[in-house]
Structures are given as structure tokens and as C-alpha cells.
Point group: C2
Chain length 167, copies 2
Amino acid sequence: MLEGKQPDEKQDFASSDDGALAVRRLKLWIRMLGVTRLVENQLREFLRVGHDTTLPRFDVMATLHRRRDGLSMTELSRTLLISNGNATAVVDRLVRDGLVRRIHSDTDRRRVTVILTPEGVTQFEALAVRHRATIDRLFAQLDDEDLDMMRDVLRRLRGDLTGESGG
Amino acid sequence: MLEGKQPDEKQDFASSDDGALAVRRLKLWIRMLGVTRLVENQLREFLRVGHDTTLPRFDVMATLHRRRDGLSMTELSRTLLISNGNATAVVDRLVRDGLVRRIHSDTDRRRVTVILTPEGVTQFEALAVRHRATIDRLFAQLDDEDLDMMRDVLRRLRGDLTGESGG
DNA sequence: CTAAAAAATTTTAAGCTTGAAATAATTATG
DNA sequence: CATAATTATTTCAAGCTTAAAATTTTTTAG
């Protein structure tokens, strides 16, 4: 019963105009996921062999470096789009290794502020330069026009995915 | 020595033309990673509440559904860009749940072919329809022009990342 | 034929990740 | 003030993931 579609089949889906578009969107997602994984695998390799660290650790340290006065655990996990328990685990190991420090708030004793140690800052900054160079190499094909276009499309997508208003 | 760039500084980097481009590429990567995670989180939620399964399981089953005569463990892990040990773990659980079967080759006793069971086929096909609809909704903003453009850029990126020749 | 090399898979240890439950502290409500 | 609801974080069990080592089998070279 797949063939013989009647023309009077009303296409009243809110989002999908016809099946062909839906298929193209699915294929795009698969392609996008594949490229993301390839890049992640390259970055993982770079971090492992060159700097004896991992992607999740790098992500946490990058976030803490951008927000030098620290973040709460909740802010950290929301920024990185990971679960709260996951944040705890990664931060635990970074604390163990002396790269990150937990500061317990005096005014609200539930709250913890996570912050890079001086050693963490030093290590991250050394890393960040080479990380950026690695990304630059992997994305070397993309010129300003490509970047404009991708940025616009990804912005629109993120708008939808975060409920349109903020993010 | 960063300022006062002489015009005769030959830009003979293969990939990077100037710092501004490098920064834009880095920002694009961060944006792309964010959108990918948002989509993955939505899909994870959809699979969990609606179908009591997970993203890695879905990925394996989708691959096996596309290649109905089965794949070896090596082919499977390479297709999904995951490690061989990871593939073993996910397949183990799918076998335990009766959705996937391992067939040991007679001619090469190292080789294992992994294939969906009839129950696996049934379950996946029910899932796939709703999965596609979910993607279609999440990517509803993208029209044919967007899809063309994204496909081209992602193709170029993948070319670089897989060594240009094949993939 | 035999030993070495290569190939396919599994096992292992460590770390990553999630969602849910538990803990602890603060704020809101009567 | 008491207690209910909320907020912040950690703990927990299960599953995911990797890289490296181990196992088993096949292929290659002598």
C-alpha cells in the first residue's frame, strides 16, 4: 500500500511538507553526526597523545577558563549540556589531579563554585593554542562564506532546540 | 611581535590564512558540537520514554537494518566510528535482548556476522518511522536550499577528515 | 610444514554518561 | 516557627566508550 498514493492525501503535518524533505533532513542529520564524530575522534587523539588528557576534561577546563571567576556545578553542567552527575565525576578527577578547585559558598552552603587552579590555567593555555590550530587545520576547507552560512543555519536550529526564546 | 605584520609575510600555511579565520572556525566547531548535542539529547529522550532504548542501540540496529545480510564486528565499528570493544558491548546487550544474532563463519572462524533477528527488524521498523518524524520536526527550519549548502560543506569536511580519497 | 606476521574479535581497566534516588540546605507558606 | 516545596549537589547502578592487551584463527614467508 505504499505505491498508489492519492493526490488528495492532505499534507497537514506542521513541519513536513513532503516525504522527500523529511528524508533529506534525516540524511543531513546522519551526515552531521558523522562529521562531528570524526572531528571528535581527531581531537581525542590529539589530546591523548600530545597532552595525556581527554575531551570531557578539556571541555570542562575550557568552560572554566572562559569564566575565570568560576561556575556552580549546575551552571557547568548546563553549559556543557551534560548531566549533573557527569559533571561531578569529571570535576572529581580534575580536582584529584590538582587542576581544579571546589570553593564552598559561605552564604549558601549547598552551592559550590568550581574554578581552575593556577596549574590548571597554565596547562589549559598551553593546550588551547594547539587545540585551536588543530581545529583550524580540520576546518581549513571552510572560508568566510561557508562559515557565514553554517553559522546562520546552526543558529536557527539551536533556536528551535532550545525553545526559541533564549540560549 | 603580533602587531606590525609586514605585508611581505608570506602566508604559506596550508590551512590558515589569518587568525580571524581560525577563530571563526573554532567558534563554528563549538556551535556545531552544541547543536549536535542538543539533537542527541532530544533523540535520547525520545528513545528512552517512547521506546525504552538508547542511542547506541538505535545506531547499531539502524546499521544492521540497512545491511540486512549482516556485517562483521569490524565493519560495524568502522561504520559507526566507534571502537571495536564498544561494538562488542552494545551487540552483547542486543543479543541478550533477542534483537540481534551472531553468526559464526564456517570458512573463517575468526569472523562473526551480526544480523537483526525478526524481532529486531520488527522493533526497529516501528521505531524508524517515529525517529524520522522526530528528526523532521527538529530540522523543520531547514529547506532544500539550506540542505544543499550544508550537505556540500559537510561533504568537504568529511573528505578532509577521512583522507580525501574515499569514505 | 613451520614460524612469524596479520587479522578479527573479545576482554579488561579506567573513565564517561545518564537518570534516578539520596542528601543537604534554602525559601516559601501557613 | 514549622513544614512543605524548591534548589544544589552527590551518590548509585547501569550502560557507553576507549585504548591496550589477550585470544584465536588465518595468511605469509622461508
